[in-house]
């Protein structure tokens, strides 16, 4: 039997409710179980992993896996753990996220509030950039990086990710700014504000939601990228994703050290998780902001 609820949506009876919650719990378990196994395994000793139950809690509780993954596990011939590569990733991810977000915001501002002849065409071309797959960039980008002397460097990766990301951040910001009334910019111009000060004082302060979307999106894309990292860098300059792959596939002793692998994987995934938790509440708000004016 359907009853009216507070929000006016009719919902089913208790049986339907049990089914809905059951399904949701099942889905939650499906997604959370791998994380549970990763976490527990990372704190187990090798002995417990080979002898014990996959779902058992770690006993004794051991940090060896984490210590080794961070500072002493071998990635190829180099045995200093992931720490060096972690900071590599930070070194190109942070500037690339900031650069692509800043350019995206400026592009969106120009494409919506300072339209010029052909600006729609330029926006269309930028939009195409979001459809071009990673793989198509590889060869031309490798040539360009070589020509400008940025191959096999953190700076080179920063450039690659910034350029690739601008198409996405421009799309996000443009769609957000298009909903901001043009009158606001006109008022600022009448008030004597220049192109830059209008952006700085009027547009930027109301852009937080969409900037958060850009930051989350770009951070996830760039931090998790494997392909550009493995193609454009080698050895010392590898990002953490490539190093994790090497760590997992280097088994000098012939024994799979699952605790180290799991800890390494969690270390690699942690920064994106943190960004989601910190900026996540803006994420949904920003994605839907364009739809509802105001």
């Amino acid at each position: 039997m359907a009853t009216r609820t507070e929000d006016g949506v009719a919902r089913g009876g208790s049986l339907a409710r049990v089914l809905v919650y059951g399904l949701l719990l099942l889905a939650a378990a499906y997604f959370l179980l791998p994380l549970y196994v990763m976490l527990t395994t990372s704190f187990k000793t090798l002995g417990q992993i080979s002898g014990g139950n996959l779902f058992a809690l770690p006993a004794p509780f051991s940090l060896t896996g984490w210590q080794q993954a961070w500072s002493s596990a071998c990635t190829g011939s180099d045995c200093t753990g992931l720490q060096h590569y972690f900071w590599n990733s930070v070194a190109f991810t942070v500037p690339a996220v900031l650069l692509s977000t800043a350019f995206g915001a400026l592009n969106g501002y120009v494409l919506t509030k300072w339209r010029f002849k052909g600006s729609e065409i330029i926006f269309g071309l930028l939009l195409v950039g979001t459809f071009v797959p990673f793989q198509m960039f590889l060869l031309p980008m490798a040539r360009v990086l070589g020509m400008i002397g940025l191959d096999n460097s953190v700076a080179g990766l920063t450039l690659v990710h910034s350029v690739y990301g601008v198409a996405f951040t421009t799309l996000f910001c443009r769609n957000y700014y298009v909903a901001i009334p043009d009158e606001l910019v006109k008022a600022a111009r009448i008030d004597g504000a220049s192109f830059i000060s209008t952006f700085r004082y009027v547009i930027l302060p109301i852009s937080t939601p969409i900037l958060m979307v850009c930051v989350i999106w770009q951070f996830t894309q760039i931090w998790n990228d494997f392909l550009f990292g493995v193609v454009f860098t080698s050895g010392d300059a590898h990002p953490i994703t490539v190093a994790l792959n090497n760590l997992v596939n280097t088994s000098s002793t012939g024994i799979k050290r699952y605790n180290v692998d799991m800890a390494g994987a969690i270390i690699t995934a942690l920064p994106t998780l943190v960004v989601y938790i910190v900026a996540g509440r803006y994420f949904m708000r920003g994605l839907t902001a364009g739809a509802v004016k105001g």
């Binding site: 009334p181 606001l184 004597g192 302060p205």
Partner: protein, 366 residues
């Protein structure tokens, strides 16, 4: 010296000509209204005065200085927008002082200006609020405050009241008029509301299809419209247009008007007949405002018998809808003398106040 001088100004967007040969000179302290339907180019013209749109042809001078290529910042103007356009991230105080800040005015002076403006508009207790915490009327007041802070040579208003509800609109209209009387600064005010145009303006420019149809005082526009468009646009209820035949010679011309039954002949004043004779046409459009089409005195020879279709009481007046020469017309009568729908009433035309237009060109001929 004219504060604002618009000379032979035209504007084209791509292949579309939106403004054609605009000429307006504005005196010191004048309140000028640009009125017209949507798409007539009135907002475009205002934006061109503000420097937000480029000028395709012609010249605009402010205080005797050509501003064709000047940015909005370099023009001594302030503007109030239809949707308020308050900066949502700033509180009222910072909204008002933003223009001063952008022009490098010292903080102390800015503070004094904000206090003065806030006092004038009675928004002192709102200074620390954000725009989202204000009602529509308060927002528009702040927007006006932002314009006042700059103490410009010319104020521009772009349909500032069209977003407010009816009661507030009338209140704010009076306030803007008072403000103008107090400041005595020139104002250009864009509206599509002919009542706002009539009540506020020293002079009105009626715009249509990218042209100024007529520029004059409210009285001139109302009593002496330049063409049928202006006559129909200004006035509520609108002027009646009756196509009719002229009979007789110059000096003794009459029009034939048919109501419900018989044809009535109305002799026209001699000044009118001379102008009609000079024009030569035998069929013309006669324009009569509802207040000049009223129930006739008993026994009037020139009364037109009309069957009333609808009776519309508005309070002070009652309007009667009927037909003359098979065209719908509106007459006015006192509420106490109102007939019932279906009645036949003798109506009289005040021919002294009637105006005449060419059937095809719609130009005024008498």
């Amino acid at each position: 010296m004219a504060v604002l001088n618009i000379e032979n100004v035209s504007k084209t967007f791509g292949d579309t000509r939106v403004l054609e040969d605009i000429n307006i000179a504005m005196a010191e302290g004048e309140f000028l209204i640009l009125v017209g339907p949507s798409g007539c180019g009135k907002s475009t013209l205002l934006n061109m005065i503000a420097g937000l749109e480029t000028i395709t042809e012609g010249q605009i001078t402010l205080d005797g200085r050509s501003v064709n290529t000047a940015s909005p910042r370099e023009r001594n103007i302030a503007m109030v927008f239809q949707f308020y356009a308050l900066y949502p991230n700033m509180n009222v105080r910072r909204n008002i002082e933003f223009g001063l800040k952008m022009r490098g005015v010292a903080k102390q002076e800015r503070g004094a200006t904000v206090e003065r403006v806030a006092k004038m508009l009675q928004i002192e207790d709102l200074l620390n609020r954000k725009p989202a915490q204000l009602s529509g009327g308060q927002r528009q007041r702040v927007a006006i405050g932002r314009a006042l802070a700059r103490d410009p040579a010319l104020f521009l208003f772009d349909e500032p009241l069209s977003n407010l509800d009816a009661k507030l609109r009338v209140e704010m209209r009076t306030e803007i008029k008072q403000l103008h009387q107090r400041l005595a600064t020139a104002m250009v005010y864009v509206t599509h509301d002919q009542i706002e145009a009539m009540t506020l303006g020293d002079r009105i420019a009626v715009m249509h299809a990218g042209r100024v149809q007529q520029l004059g005082t409210p009285r001139e526009i109302y009593d002496d419209p330049a063409n049928r468009y202006v006559a129909g646009f200004i006035g509520s209820p609108a002027m009646n247009f009756i196509e009719c035949e002229l009979i007789g010679e110059a000096g003794d011309t009459a029009v034939c008007l048919t109501g419900a039954t018989d044809e009535a002949r109305l002799a026209l004043p001699s000044a009118t007949t001379e102008r009609l004779a000079a024009h030569g046409a035998r069929r013309v459009v006669m324009g009569v405002r509802p207040e000049h089409l009223v129930p006739a005195a008993h026994g009037s020879a020139e009364a037109i018998a009309c069957r009333i279709d609808v009776v519309e009481p508005t309070g002070p007046d009652t309007y009667l809808h009927t037909e003359i020469n098979a065209e719908p017309v509106t007459a006015r009568c006192l509420p106490s003398a109102a007939p019932a729908a279906g009645d036949t009433v003798a109506l009289a035309v005040d021919v002294e106040r009637a105006v005449f237009f060419d059937c095809d060109s719609e130009a005024r001929i008498a």
